[in-house]
Symmetry: C2
Subunit: 587 residues, 2 copies
């Protein structure tokens, strides 16, 4: 109740002596925040905070979980961890969680940076689990000795950078990824990225810089043209959304304030592939390209950037091999993700040097070391192939050791196979088969279901195609968030499931897996295209483009915020933009 | 009407296809922004923007006014300039106006930085006067050749820093002041200042840095104590308000998130004088000192800072001369204002090298050069002494050249004297005299009013004390803003008043002054003391301390914002803080 009474005191303290001053109170009440704040505050249990220190004595009995990173994966893990038998330490260079899908909106001030961040301490203080946070960067993982080396990231008069070591029983790596420049020369020096909140703030300042600079009296027309040429490299959702946001910012707000430069501004979107948004449905791609074309955003597909100098971007036409240069004022590089150096170093230690991301099994455990988990953009699930385990599966299923598999025998393990190897189900779905028996029947020819019996070779041939359905999960917030929830649930029931394993049969061992493997559920994807138009690709290949999707986008993004504060701020930012436009002060 | 219809289009475009999506509309309506936005938008006349370029041909006929600075003085000048016969060019390193009295609130996130800034282009685009803005710093003023040298302040890949020259017919210097370190060693390197929006943002980050650093596992208790010691140098309104804000931030928000450091945080306010807030009434000073004492803010008066090193502040007791050192984590230096180098250089050129600020006459004209005006913190009005002009006044008043002044003769020039020398009126008020005749009567003894006749010596002795009432105006936003309004009004009626001068008699010349001299009207001053308590000193020595003043402060500061956008944002920030507290994300 203390949380509630604090809010109450705050409000009452101010109004106590001033019952007549009700003007501001109206704002408090009508914003809807009053109620939500109380609802929020009720969850706060301030005693939990003091628990942290009073339970120091118990620490030795508790398992130490160290979480690296406070992005989507790390935060959703922390938010869902409920088992108080862990002692959690979080190490991240950022003491907040950022709602990254709104970063493109921050670049142009549609949404303020502070509206999409929430202090990680605020997120975890409402928990029954003791959580300590250290604002530092992990510089080395030593899985052999179960240690993590960290370095404080502060650069001020406070005694330089501090280094320290954290021990763990379980390590959760959720450090995300950095930008992939494909070693293109000049990119790091001259391009902007859009991975962090600071990046978005810097882009915002640079856009205004370009406009201010173009307005100086001594700048030639040609130079003006260069300065106001904004190049976006990479036609994925980030690049496209930034181009759209920038176009709106320029046409809705900036042209009023910089009338002289109206016709000079140019936005170019460079994409090496044949189309922008190529992970989306073709209808969306076509709509986006058409819309950008009408609006004067120059979409150059099949054009690969090979070099970026201070003032020019050099591209190579994929078809003709022709090299050309375009002068630019500001460039955003958003072509995909790369591996962070510390993760790369760790991968070398555990023999994964040649991979792009940390390989984990379906339970998100890093392959090649114990008690280390990896999730989010820094990891990929190395899904097990059916064909690798086919003999083990056959042996396990063939209970009477007859050398052949009857339908009855097979039916007993079907559920486990489908759970362990999700590609089987996917294959059936794509082949529009209702039942896995259909697969066997296909191999055996059209015989009666009951009389099917397969030997090992026939079984192999029946399942030979299923592994083709295996796909890596995309590096999205949605995947990372679901992985965090999944892993937290596993941790919550670790002891319980140790005794009563709930996972599928171990085909290559005995008994059952402790947990069900991670399964990703795709809820769809948005591509905001500017001008209150959004493309949405929802499950079941359902595509929606236009204003209704924009409103769906508003609702989904508002509802997905991690706190009521974020929700209120984001919605009020959108409202503010509707009424007053975007701010162009260079701060 | 275009402005209005744009807003309407914006809203309608979004709602057009979605009549059912009324949820967000509610927010728009209830925030009160809807109506205010329309009111605002009605003033917008988009045709004025295009005027700017179409009138280039007329430029040669127009007088060029160059304004340096976009602070209180410059902005209020620009906002009030209405005469379209000027062509205005504004040069400032900041493309926005900042509502500086709220800067201390920005340091702790009570108000967001962006809520208190408004782009200067947005402020001037609503005007009938053609205004060009250049984001650059003035690096040299050449009053001889009527030129201003400027340098673009951008540091990015855009071709380095650009320099250019602007010609003027009238120059308005409103560049403000910088921080006065009194040449104390180590201040520039180690202390924070609070003059600009960037300063406030940096302080906010540093406060969080200190808390994060103190939470690292390897930091010793002693080091923790140092890091969480916040020192404020200077007991003026800024220092006091920052200390109060910081105290609230720590006790209302941070202790919930950093429970381990609660009892270690310490705030010290160092003041060389005997009391903090010494420009305020003694009752306010006493209340503030008492409140800070109760709250554990250590107020050290009579303690002058003589050196600041990376980790220690060295102070000297004013009474005993004792030198001591205190370790600190963050220090704010707010002891007063100094002269900007470019202003100093200009003062050397015009023979004002030994002054603290540019000396102007009562019409804000810089002494020693033509057509140059200075206002705000970079200038002081060098008020004319009655005793300097006493003979001229006598001669002018003695119309019949009799060598003596009768009451009748004197009465004819009283109004002009009072207008030209405001200290006369102030002196009468302080002496509680109803009439200037009383002053003469005092000199002459108690004789009948009609029979008073004074010779020059008697006249001198009667007025000998009035100049003691002369005071420099304080370096506040209020003064700067009133000066801006005054000067704009002068510019608006320049031609008109050239023909029909409306100022007082020229006692040392012939005719009348064109304009009435600038008169400052003091509307009172606030000192927010934290915990919803504010001290207010209003005209007539009316003092109010407590919550009612806090609400007065809220109303005044909300109403004084330069745009409806600012007003809406500041009020919503206050509301947000009431409901959700302040954000502690380090961005």
């Amino acid at each position: 109740m203390r949380g509630y009474s604090t809010i109450f005191q705050r409000v009452s303290r101010a109004f106590h002596d001033n019952p007549s001053l009700s003007k501001l109170l109206v704002v408090v009440t009508v914003s809807g925040g009053g109620l939500v704040a109380c609802a929020e505050a009720n969850q706060v249990n301030s005693q939990q905070i003091t628990n942290l220190s009073s339970e120091v004595d118990l620490v030795s009995k508790k398992k130490k979980v160290v979480v690296l990173g406070t992005g989507w994966a790390g935060t959703s893990f922390l938010r869902n961890l409920k088992n108080p038998s862990y002692e959690v330490q979080v190490v991240s260079p950022r003491n907040y969680f950022a709602f990254t899908p709104l970063l493109p909106s921050v670049t142009c001030g549609t949404v303020e940076a502070r509206s999409i961040v929430e202090p990680i301490r605020n997120i975890v203080r409402k928990k029954s689990v003791g959580v300590q946070f250290f604002e530092a960067e992990c510089i080395k993982i030593d899985a052999q000795n179960k240690k993590v080396y960290c370095r404080s990231n502060q650069e001020n008069n406070l005694n330089g950078k501090e280094e320290f070591v954290v021990d763990y029983d379980f390590l959760v790596i959720a450090m995300g990824a950095n930008v992939n420049t494909f070693n293109t020369p000049g990119v790091v020096e001259n391009c902007h990225f859009l991975k962090e909140v600071e990046d978005a703030q810097k882009i915002r300042r640079t856009v205004i810089d370009c406009f201010e600079r173009a307005s100086l009296p001594t700048v030639s027309d040609e130079e003006k043209k260069r300065i106001l040429h904004f190049a976006v490299v990479g036609g994925g959702p980030t690049g496209v959304e930034f181009a759209a946001e920038l176009h709106d910012f320029v046409n809705e707000d900036l042209i009023k304030l910089y009338p002289g430069v109206k016709d000079i501004v140019k936005i170019t979107l460079l994409e090496a592939g044949d189309h922008i948004l190529n992970m989306f449905d073709k209808r969306i791609t076509a709509f986006a390209e058409g819309k950008f074309h009408r609006e004067g955003i120059d979409v150059k597909t099949g054009s690969m950037v090979v070099k970026v100098s201070e003032k020019e971007i050099t591209t190579k036409e994929m078809k003709t091999g022709e090299i050309s240069s375009i002068p630019y004022g500001m460039a955003l590089w958003s072509t995909g993700i790369g591996t962070r150096p510390v993760v790369k170093d760790f991968m070398r230690q555990i023999g994964q040097a040649n991979r792009r991301a940390l390989a984990t099994d379906e339970w998100l455990r890093v392959e090649g070391c114990d008690n280390v988990y990896a999730l989010g953009d820094c990891a990929t699930i190395n899904q097990r192939k059916v064909m690798e385990d086919i003999s083990a599966i056959f042996t396990k299923a063939d209970k009477d050791n007859s050398g052949t598999l009857t339908v009855k025998e097979f039916q007993e393990v079907i559920a486990d196979i489908c759970e362990r190897y999700p590609q089987v189900e996917l294959y059936l779905k794509n082949k529009q088969m209702g039942d896995i028996i259909d697969l066997l029947r296909e191999a055996k020819g059209d015989v009666a279901k009951e009389s099917i019996e397969l030997n090992i070779e026939e079984f192999k041939s029946a399942l030979s195609q299923v592994d083709s359905q295996m796909k890596n999960l995309p590096a999205t917030a949605q995947v990372a968030s679901q992985q965090g929830v999944y892993l937290a649930k596993c941790f919550n029931r670790m002891e319980e499931c140790e005794k009563n394993p709930e996972g599928p049969l171990r085909f290559r061992g005995s008994g059952r897996h402790r947990f069900r493997p991670f399964r990703y559920k795709h809820f769809g994807q948005f591509a905001p295209l500017g001008g209150e138009q959004t493309a949405a690709q929802l499950p079941g290949d359902w595509v929606s483009i236009g204003q209704s999707s924009q409103w769906l986008w508003y609702s989904v993004y508002a509802s997905k915020q991690v706190s009521w504060r974020n929700r209120a701020l984001v919605v009020s930012d959108w409202t503010r933009r509707f009424i007053f436009g975007r701010d162009s002060s260079r701060i």
